[in-house]
Each structure stands twice: as structure tokens, then as C-alpha cells.
Symmetry: C2
Subunit: 192 residues, 2 copies
């Protein structure tokens, strides 16, 4: 199972945000929706062995985690609005300390960065990390930040993890996920 | 100058489509909007040396070409709706046989696949092509299709061009652009 987890520092934590303004009033939810797409979609189908987890830290009631499972998700299209609509349904549920399914393959809970990183082993995607292409055995789980850097508190939590870069330019989180998926695809298929 | 050109076989050719339904009534305009993002955006800024051209072949009045210039575009955000809004403005103009600017850095004309491929040299991105990582001197211009294959007539036009693949799985056009941009970034920066 490949897992991508993204920290959304401003992302709205209730289901009232307008689908017409994912970047603004929803706190860069557009970026998180594209991360779902980059994690789960192939050209004509879904990556059934992949999962995208989103940590939402914006108002009004953080922290929330929403998890999209490629194995079980339904009614998800690649456009931002489609993932945004499922996010809104998930965030409309009262959230406890355990995952609860809002729509097929989409689950929500109250949870912190430590909860987000259940399972593993994990690596951090970081433009200053080692080139992922040179890593002989990349882990299956990758943590990314949104358009903001990790906070000092977040850096403390992930400080012991390996850090990888996907290239020489700083890219959007969804592009970084696409590049990691490609690198893992190539290894699975014997391409290098 | 890096150029990515995408054929949108169903994409609407007037400015009346709703921004709330880019995948459906706009003819997979969501995918084309993401191709604009993948071509032009870095994490915190634009790729000023890149250009995205879209060939629109859907109703009511094909063919149209819309061109986004990274050097000159303004008021473009990475979300699909932002590019869709600029597309709609471009397609609201009467189109002739020369490019006409609709908003800064966005131009529109009536034009065919041959017009789309002005300049060059070009290559085609194709899942059955040669691995781009193994190409010593990739060209600066890449042609892609949307979620549909090239038609027989289109294949005739591009038949002599080199064809490259970005990996073992069939991906969305925007993911393919992200992967080519990364490969070109790596070569420019001396990463391999």
C-alpha cells in the first residue's frame, strides 16, 4: 500500500465551504483535492493500492483527518470539485477519535499529525532532501506539506525520518506525489 | 522555451460553459485546466519559459486554439476554476486565423492541429514510446492527447515525430506534463 499524507495548514474543518472557492475560503482545499487525484488516479482507473490522508488544521474545529482509500472509494472523479464535494460530506459528520466512513472509501476522524502517521515506515518529501531516484529502497509512505513549510512543532515530530527530494525545483505537493508515484511505478515494472 | 500542446477532443469552443461543470458540459475542460497548471506552475511562482497550447475540438465551433504564456500571463491561480475562467474569456472572443489576446498572456485563434504545432521540434507523449529518461537530447515541444487517443487523421499528421513515454503506467495528461517538466528540470540542473 502506497500512502501519501498532506498537511493542510489552513484547510477548513467543517463542511460549509463553497465548492466555488476551494483556494480561498476553504484554505487551499484545491491543492489538497489535487493531491487526492495525484495519489489515486491512473489514466483510466484508480490506483487500488494507494491511500491519501489529509490533515486539516484550519478553522473552525481542527485538527481533522480525512482519508481516501483507492481500494474502496466510489463516485470520485479527477476534478478538484469532485474530491472537494466528498471532503465537504466528510467534514459535515461529527468527528471522534476513530475513523468513520462518510461516503464509500472516505473516512474522517479528529486527529493530529501523529495520528495521521499511523503505520509506515514514513519519509518526508522535502526539496532539500536526497534525490529519491538514488534511494535503493524507498519507503511506501510519504508525508508532504501544503504551500506552507512544516511548523517547528511538526518538524520535531518528523525529525528522525528520511527526507527525499523529487527534483531541483520546488513544486506543488500534487506534482511531488505524481513524481513519487512514477518512481515507484518504474521500480515495480523494472524500469529505471 | 518549453511548450506543451494538448488536444481536447470534446472541449467546448464557446465561452458559455459553467465553471461548476468543467468535466461534463465543458468537455473535460478540467483536464485541460490542469495541463495549464502542470505546464506553468512552480511551488511559488510561474515557469516564465513555458507555454501551454490547447486545441479545442468540441461544439459549437471547432477548431479553436488557446495559448497560455508563462512569461506574460497574469491573474492565473493553480486551481482548475482559475484557468477555466480565463479559457471562458478567451472563447468569448470572435476568433480569426491569427492569435488575439483575451487577457494578459492568454491568446485565442481558430486553428487546426497543424497550426497548434507551429515552431518545434516536437515529440509526442505516448505510453508506447521510448522511455524519455533514456533520450540524450529531448526536444523542447511535446504534444499530448486528452483522455481519448489521437484520431487516425491526427496520427497521420504526427506520424514522423519521435514518441516518448514517461513511465510504465498510463497517466493523465497533466501528470505526463509534470513528469516531462521534472526530467527537463533535472537535465538543466545537472541532476540525473
Amino acid at each position: 500500500m502506497r500512502t501519501f499524507a498532506v498537511v493542510g495548514h489552513l484547510a477548513r474543518t467543517d463542511g460549509t465551504f463553497p465548492l466555488e472557492d476551494l483556494p480561498g475560503s476553504a484554505g487551499r482545499m484545491d491543492l489538497l483535492c489535487r493531491c487526492v487525484r495525484a495519489t489515486l488516479f491512473l489514466s483510466h482507473g484508480l490506483r487500488r493500492d494507494a491511500e491519501c490522508r489529509l490533515l486539516l488544521l484550519g478553522p473552525p474545529d481542527p485538527p481533522r483527518i480525512v482519508r481516501f482509500s483507492g481500494e474502496r472509494v466510489r463516485s470520485l472523479s479527477p476534478d478538484e470539485r469532485s474530491a472537494g464535494s466528498l471532503m465537504r460530506k466528510a467534514l459535515s459528520l461529527p468527528a471522534g477519535d476513530l475513523y468513520r466512513e462518510s461516503t464509500p472509501g472516505v473516512e474522517v476522524r479528529r486527529g493530529t499529525l501523529a495520528d495521521l502517521m499511523d503505520g509506515g515506515p514514513w519519509a518526508v518529501l522535502d526539496e532539500d532532501g536526497d534525490d529519491l531516484r538514488n534511494e535503493g529502497h524507498p519507503p511506501p509512505c510519504f508525508l508532504l506539506s501544503d504551500h506552507r513549510d512544516f511548523t517547528t512543532e511538526e518538524e520535531d515530530i518528523v525529525s528522525g525520518l528520511p527526507r527525499y527530494s523529487v527534483g531541483p525545483r520546488a513544486l506543488h505537493a500534487d506534482d511531488a506525489i505524481t513524481l513519487v508515484q512514477n518512481e515507484l511505478d518504474r521500480r515495480e515494472a523494472g524500469w529505471r
